[in-house]
């Protein structure tokens, strides 16, 4: 089977996964205490089929198959129709209305800047954790067995295994509460609605607010990249072409980065895509600790408000992101690595 077959198979698997996630999501949220009661109640009470009343539950449960054009009354859906409707809603990102705000969930997600905030935090911390992890991993591998090596391996294991929420609390305690170097949380100190200062003046404040949460996520994630880089680098450093390169008289840096790292980079990049799920999980916790008004913090507030549509949508979106990241890394592997077997 060639590359096309491989990609088709991956795409098919991805589609099955999305189907699975939607089904799982539907099934889980049918289990909410009271849901079955609400549905039964709505199904039995003819007066409750009014569009305005049923509208609130419409997107969550997909109760109406259609509306009677004359009376605007709901023609109730069967269970399979409900699932079909839910499925279409999920595929078209129509998540319904948040219980907390009463706005459509997609508006709350994008219009309020939450998505942007999360992408900013995730982007910065992914970038730094990759850079730090790879650079230190390369140097550590080239000095295998020294105190430098063991020191960094131990440090990255420690930061990797410390719970993120605890790391965040300790950082707030030390750097915000005691030393006052950084604000203890929030995205910006600017009041909502008031005119913002010019963009250039915002930058230092924004960086100050971003620093601690990004530091926590970076510290949590560089360890994995470092250890993986070290392992793959050790492998490629023992190859013959490295000896050849050294024999040619190339500088150490050139050997490390141009020859060894280039060949060791595949698993690192794949792993970066695969660790996306963990990154999002870490972001939920970190955003909560630092009151960073992003998607993770939104999930936290949805938990306390029992805002099920938001939780449902966020779970779906996060799972979708992870699935897509997996798919991309599959494609990447398939296109880049000629050694991969298309079976």
């Amino acid at each position: 089977m060639g590359l096309r077959g491989y990609l088709l198979k991956r795409a098919f698997n991805t589609f099955i996964l999305i189907l699975f996630v939607i089904t799982l999501n539907f099934a889980i949220f049918q289990l909410i205490p009271g849901t079955q009661g609400v549905i039964a109640n709505l199904l039995q009470n003819p007066r409750l089929t009014d569009k305005s009343i049923i509208g609130r539950y419409e997107n969550q449960f997909g109760l109406c198959a259609s509306y009677d054009p004359a009376t605007q009354h709901c023609v109730l859906a069967t269970a399979s129709q409900r699932f079909g409707k839910y499925f279409v809603n999920m595929l078209t990102f129509n998540f319904g209305v948040s219980y907390q705000s009463g706005h459509p969930i997609l508006d709350d997600m994008i219009g309020t800047g939450r998505l942007y905030n999360t992408l900013l935090l995730l982007g910065v911390s992914t970038l730094f954790s990759l850079l730090i992890g790879i650079f230190i991993g390369v140097f550590v591998a080239s000095r295998r067995g020294t105190a430098f090596d063991t020191g960094w391996v131990t440090t990255s294991l420690v930061t990797y295994s410390l719970p993120t929420f605890w790391m965040g609390l300790i950082f707030i305690l030390v750097f915000a509460q005691d030393l006052h170097w950084f604000p203890p949380g929030g995205v910006t100190p600017f009041p909502t609605g008031a005119p913002l200062p010019p963009f250039l003046q915002q930058i230092p404040t924004r960086i100050a607010h971003l620093f601690l949460p990004a530091l926590v996520l970076t510290l949590y994630f560089y360890g994995g990249h470092l250890l993986l880089t070290r392992a793959t680098m050790l492998e490629s450093l023992s190859e013959d072409y490295i000896t050849t390169a050294r024999a040619k008289g190339l500088s150490n840096t050139k050997v490390l980065f141009k020859h060894a790292l280039k060949n060791a980079s595949l698993p690192i990049v794949t792993n970066a895509a695969l660790s996306f799920g963990g990154l999002l999980g870490g972001a939920i916790i970190t955003e909560t600790v630092f009151n960073w008004d992003g998607l993770g913090h939104w999930i936290f507030s949805a938990i306390s408000y029992k805002d099920f549509p938001v939780m449902q949508a966020m779970f779906y979106i996060i799972a979708l992101c992870v699935i897509v990241a997996n798919f991309i890394s599959d494609i990447f592997l398939g296109v880049i690595d000629p050694r991969i077997k298309y079976e």
Binding site: P163, L173, G278, F300, F308, M311, A319, V322, I323
Partner: protein
């Protein structure tokens, strides 16, 4: 010695020889001891008020000096006496306990009876709170012209007196009672200080001998009565407390930590055992039965592996409810995928070995082969995975609790961190460091043991060092 016992002994000997495994084992044993001996290690319950609010641990006084710190103190045993100026008063008192006394009084021309407790206050800083109670029930009052009065006072012996903190007229058969709290803003105002001042700060501003007493003024004339004085106590909560201080309600953090160890170990172990059980069954079935079963089970496993775990945990916990057992079950049933794959690959390779074929040839059934030949060969894997999966379950529970999805009645380490964050008092280091260190150390102990077990059962790994 039976064979199994020898094996177990060797197993322990090998574990002890490995330095890291030994460290992990010691660490784990410490936690197990703390969990098992929790009621012996601390006399407080995790939610019971034990000291002043947000009091740091007692040993901060060794770091920052004694001047600013006090510890809990309590007024001692009861004594009953009459005022020296009261003539013709005879008092008989029967002690009913450390805080209870029955006083029978006979007087001809009035006088006072005093029941008091003393305390040698040895801290240079005042307590952060004080809390006292008193219940007085007079009986068989032979009424004179007026009724007896009761009042409560503080006295720094030989220096000055503060009071009355409370007073009341005693009526036959009616119980008079009071609760004295330093946080009561009216208390200081009643004594002429600015309202809202903490009376404890004023009274206990210096070291010295103190007395806390209830004074009963007898009416003039022939009088005979008995007074039942109960719950006569005064506790001073210091501004430091115990090994790990207190939380914002004054509950003992050491006790929360120790009982939290119990819960964490329980959550970690039970969830992991469930996960291992499910993984074992699915892996064995998929590996040994092969074909369609394998395909279906492994596709399902792959799908479960891709779904991000924390969001799924959050969704399930908030939908199914967050009792401790629910969380254990959810963590268990979401933690089997990796192990199932491991078991399957092991079974796939075992299945082709000659001894399995020999067993099949001699007519052994599927379940017999699974139980007698395959399972014993993956027991090692099971131990390793048990040790390595516990940390994930512990951290998972802590993360859920931290997000407010934990059992609200169970004080776990995650719950402690959540309350520390939500208390709006600023973060207190003595409240945050113990649970976090607990999570990290307990996880570390399991990881150390797990890696050494891995090397033990997987000889190929030994050349790593």
């Amino acid at each position: 010695m039976p064979f199994r016992l020898i094996r177990l002994k060797n197993f322990f000997l090998i574990l002890v020889k490995n330095r890291l495994a030994f460290a992990g084992l010691i660490l784990l044993l410490l936690f197990v001891f703390a969990a098992a001996a929790a009621p012996l290690l601390t006399s407080n319950y995790p939610t019971e008020k034990a000291g002043g609010k947000l009091a740091p641990p007692f040993w901060v006084s060794y770091i920052y000096g004694n001047a600013r710190y006090s510890q809990n103190a309590q007024f001692g045993s009861l004594t009953t006496y009459t005022n020296t100026s009261s003539l013709g008063v005879s008092v008989q008192s029967t002690s009913l306990g450390p805080n209870d006394v029955n006083v029978t009084v006979r007087s001809v021309a009035g006088g006072t009876v005093i029941v008091g407790k003393t305390l040698d206050y040895s801290y240079s800083a005042p307590p952060s709170e004080m809390f006292g109670t008193l219940v007085v029930t007079p009986s068989s009052l032979s009424l004179g012209s007026s009724q007896p009065q009761v009042a409560v006072f503080f006295d720094r012996i030989g220096v000055r007196e503060w009071g009355p903190l409370w007073n009341d007229t005693l009526k036959p058969g009616l119980t008079s009672q009071t609760t004295i709290r330093s946080t009561d803003p009216g208390l200081a105002a009643r004594l002429g200080y600015q309202s809202g001042t903490d009376l404890g700060q004023i009274v206990f501003s210096a070291k010295g001998a103190y007395r806390y007493f209830v004074m009963i003024n007898l009416p003039p004339g022939q009088f005979q009565a008995s007074f039942l004085i109960k719950q006569f106590s005064m506790s001073l909560y210091g501004n430091t407390y115990g090994l790990m201080g207190t939380d914002f309600t004054g509950a003992d953090i050491f006790s929360q930590f120790v009982y939290g160890t119990q819960l964490s170990l329980m959550v970690g172990l039970i969830a992991t055992i469930i996960g291992i059980g499910v993984g074992l069954i699915i892996g064995l079935l998929a590996g040994f039965l092969g074909k369609m079963v394998d395909e279906v089970l492994m596709r399902f496993t792959d799908m479960m592996l891709v779904i991000p775990s924390l969001p799924l945990l959050i969704v399930l916990a908030s939908v199914l409810g967050s009792s401790l057992w629910n969380i254990i079950l959810i963590l268990g049933f979401l933690g089997w995928m990796g192990f199932a794959r491991l078991v399957r690959s092991q079974v796939l390779s075992l299945r082709e070995r000659p001894f399995i074929e020999a067993a099949k040839a001699s007519g052994a059934g599927t379940s017999y082969i699974l139980a007698r030949h395959i399972f014993p060969n993956i027991v090692g894997l099971t131990y390793v995975n048990l040790a390595l999966s516990v940390p994930a379950a512990i951290v998972g529970e802590a993360a859920l609790s931290f997000l407010g999805l934990g059992d609200q009645t169970a004080i776990t380490w995650g719950k402690m961190l959540e309350s520390a964050r939500e208390s709006f008092t600023g973060l207190a280091w003595w409240w945050i460091i113990p649970p976090g260190l607990g999570i990290a150390m307990l996880s570390l102990s399991f990881i150390l043991i797990g890696y050494s077990l891995d090397e033990l059962f997987n000889p190929r790994l030994r050349r790593r060092r």
